[in-house]
Symmetry: C4
Subunit: 316 residues, 4 copies
Amino acid sequence: MARMEYRNLGKSGLKVSEIALGGWVTFGHSVNDQQMVRDIVLKAHESGINFFDQADVYARGKSEEMMGAVLRELPRSELVISSKVFWPMSDDVNDRGLSRKHVLESIDKSLQRLGTDYLDIYFAHRYDPSVPMEEIVMAFDHVVRTGRAMYWGTSMWPAARIAEAVEFARSHGLYGPVTEQPEYSMLRRERVEGEILPYTESAGVGLVVWSPLAMGMLTGKYDEGMPEGSRLTDNENWGKNFVTEENRARVKALKPIADELGITRSQLALAWALRQSGVSSVIMGATKVQQVEDNVAASGVKLDAEVVSRIDEILK
Amino acid sequence: MARMEYRNLGKSGLKVSEIALGGWVTFGHSVNDQQMVRDIVLKAHESGINFFDQADVYARGKSEEMMGAVLRELPRSELVISSKVFWPMSDDVNDRGLSRKHVLESIDKSLQRLGTDYLDIYFAHRYDPSVPMEEIVMAFDHVVRTGRAMYWGTSMWPAARIAEAVEFARSHGLYGPVTEQPEYSMLRRERVEGEILPYTESAGVGLVVWSPLAMGMLTGKYDEGMPEGSRLTDNENWGKNFVTEENRARVKALKPIADELGITRSQLALAWALRQSGVSSVIMGATKVQQVEDNVAASGVKLDAEVVSRIDEILK
Amino acid sequence: MARMEYRNLGKSGLKVSEIALGGWVTFGHSVNDQQMVRDIVLKAHESGINFFDQADVYARGKSEEMMGAVLRELPRSELVISSKVFWPMSDDVNDRGLSRKHVLESIDKSLQRLGTDYLDIYFAHRYDPSVPMEEIVMAFDHVVRTGRAMYWGTSMWPAARIAEAVEFARSHGLYGPVTEQPEYSMLRRERVEGEILPYTESAGVGLVVWSPLAMGMLTGKYDEGMPEGSRLTDNENWGKNFVTEENRARVKALKPIADELGITRSQLALAWALRQSGVSSVIMGATKVQQVEDNVAASGVKLDAEVVSRIDEILK
Amino acid sequence: MARMEYRNLGKSGLKVSEIALGGWVTFGHSVNDQQMVRDIVLKAHESGINFFDQADVYARGKSEEMMGAVLRELPRSELVISSKVFWPMSDDVNDRGLSRKHVLESIDKSLQRLGTDYLDIYFAHRYDPSVPMEEIVMAFDHVVRTGRAMYWGTSMWPAARIAEAVEFARSHGLYGPVTEQPEYSMLRRERVEGEILPYTESAGVGLVVWSPLAMGMLTGKYDEGMPEGSRLTDNENWGKNFVTEENRARVKALKPIADELGITRSQLALAWALRQSGVSSVIMGATKVQQVEDNVAASGVKLDAEVVSRIDEILK
């Protein structure tokens, strides 16, 4: 097994593993056994993964709790722990969005659930048009100045809003966002490549991408259609519309390329996302220890121009 | 019963219920039974009120204590708790006004009485011409930076002073006021409409208004004159001069309009204040649970242009 | 007895009593009985004095301890407690001056000795030319931002250096000095009137003056020369050179004026210093309760132009 | 024995002894006996040394622990304690460099090992080109603002990067570096004299220099070649290449000069480094109490122009 490689998170000094472990739609959902979470997290750590991505809203806090219980066993400084704020955690009208009140109250709850004194990265999980940019940036700056997080980032923000936050922070001497967390995969590449990367890469804002396997579609496990009880069926919003005839054909066409390289299609998909120098890390979920072992092997796999070009043909 | 509606406090990200419950001239005055305070506060919370307005000076701290004892039972993040500083709490020469010393000492005392770690909004209860604007804004900025309040606001300030505070804060990278708390009702509208709103609405400063029922005058309970032992008789400064022949005639003339709309005159008066998009919330006091139930129903009542015009005629 | 009057400390919002009680050359020196200190301090408080002035160096910390032990019995917010830093407290090379190290270490020691969480005013006891203005102002700004003092001031600084500190703070968004503490009395007026006041008054920097009685000379007790064992004999630097033939003549000549006004020469001397609107408070020391009673009566005494002019003649 | 002399650290207000005691390549290496460390540190303190220089990486934390255990016995304000961050303390990818994460996590570990609440100076042990200057300066500024260090400095940085840090801090109102710690000795003078001092001296940045005795070479103990088991043999990188024929000849030629002045060649070498007004302190290591006694005597030795010129001839 190749050793994990690390990249700076954008131009920041923080080093993140090329493969990150996320708690989305797994811990607290399909994985409810704490022992299984422990096995997965420890395997990830042992495999060189240092970046563990969470959000308050993943399984309504349960994912933070389950992952946090294991992370607490590990040396804190070796870990890059992130969480997020934006989505409602209850019906309460202030328990959502990016108001100063919600940002500051939420991070304290996340820290509590994770069992740590500080996050490495705190993400604004979506852009909130109902809050002035000034209030958002000053709230996240306050998070950094009070030691509750080392850095902060955005997730799924329009490039223009990331730029606005970066510039507002810079011109006011505040801590600005150092990374964006967009969705990015072979089957959903337009927004990142067309809008986000052209700004973030030149601005030194890192990208950590979620769903690089397109909800598992790129693993090849839906080559023959969607099986009963798969993770995909539980996630209507993102998952199901990946499983189209067209995508199945594409994913099947990727197999010969993966075979030639002696890697799996999962590894090919992760390595493909990481071919972008503007991408710092790709976040995988895992429901089995084996998936961690398989996916970490994608770190360090370099795709040459010819392979990338053949993949472009297939994805067209 | 209609569900409570919420508005952003000015352009800030904080959401406040259209109807707020205040502790002025009720708790610690006419309502001295803690069980009654509890019933009123819990009914308010249950009715969707999230904004609870206090001041150090209300019943000399007793109102904060009585309301705080109940608020402590509720989830902190669901509450928007405010208090205020300016009026003397004792004969001491520094126990008043907006000096840095008084602002910082007072908020700690209010937090103590309320039993909470932070306020959502801390109000400068009046403008203090004896303190430089720089000292005032830096003291309230310090309150926000040290986590003692999420936001701060002004109360009964001249528009020019609010503007000065907003600009001083903006140009120095400090936290500025996000709201003003003026008196505003059908029977006292000139200052808000002529001086305050034209500035605050365009500047994104919210308004939360006190005495929207003109000390009860607009409920109709003084249609036949002032009864013995009413709340009004205890508050010479504001109350008594509302009870004039002219005002009685006006309030009576509002009844047919309320009847047509199938609401009470109280609800009409609250809805009338809330017709202003620049008003974020109206603060009511309550001495009975029933008043809460009656008044919250004003939230969401929309007055059309013709009704507003008829009311203007009556109030002329 | 007239009630104590209060003035704003310069343009700041802090109100200080016209007469302050200082711990210099009394507590820990001539007054070593804690019960006596208690009697004096409580009498001062009861007489309306709210301003208690200390320095680390007064009796090498003992004055802070003795006064602090009494102040702790009183409500903290009613007190304006000051201390100072600059003079060596030991032979250690960093235990002096205005380096960041010394300022921050010293205030914590003063707070400890005084038994309070914060000072109201922290004075830089002298200007320190060996430390850059930037370091001095940022250290005192840090004192204010960390809540260890409400305000800070200078003592015995050249006007140009006060101006430099005020401007550096203002232009960098830092907390600047709000007051200067110079020596000022009928027998030593040139520096304050010629250099300090012309700047401080227009800049809104307050003055609290020490030795307004010229080390007791102005009380008249040296009319017949210096008695054995007087306080003056212990303080060569300031005291002795006041006791000259010329000064004795002046002080005797003031007696008829005081008599006409029905006040003592001490009261006249204090009222004379307070005739300056740019002076916020005069600091007296006391070794007896009676001195407190006598001196506080100077507050509120107004000297008319003719009296001031006659005094000017005498002091020429 | 002459008394220790002290210099301001650059233009800062901090006073450091001309001779400092460092823990590099001694404590935890050749000196593993805590009692010996104690004797050396107490002798240093007794001899007027107030500056104790450490780094996390010296003996992987053991040097901090051993020295800290003794420093804890001494009055904290009399000590100038420094430590450093940059070099890896483990294989972990974030356990190195100047990222915000590493700087903030490392200082807390150093404080823990040293057993103190704050450092006087925290050094960036090398420049880290993989971290933006903005992140570095803001992290060290944060260290100062949160009270974890009084000042910060650089070590072995290019002059251009020191200048960049100073200017970034100054123009953003942040705490900038007040000192650089370069290597400087008779046998390695080019970089300091050619590149560093011309900038630092005019900018008011102090220099504290390490290896002023060229790893012991300048003591004369290698006049006859390198003995077995000497400290030098353990430190290939810096040490060995000092022991050349040419250098041995130079060091021997210095002996008559030292003899004429009635001092040892060690004292001559230290005094020679201190002849630069832009050098604030020279750091010595010690494995024996006697070395401390010998070296502190170099403080205050002034070399006249003729001696300096003769030394220049020898060093050519």
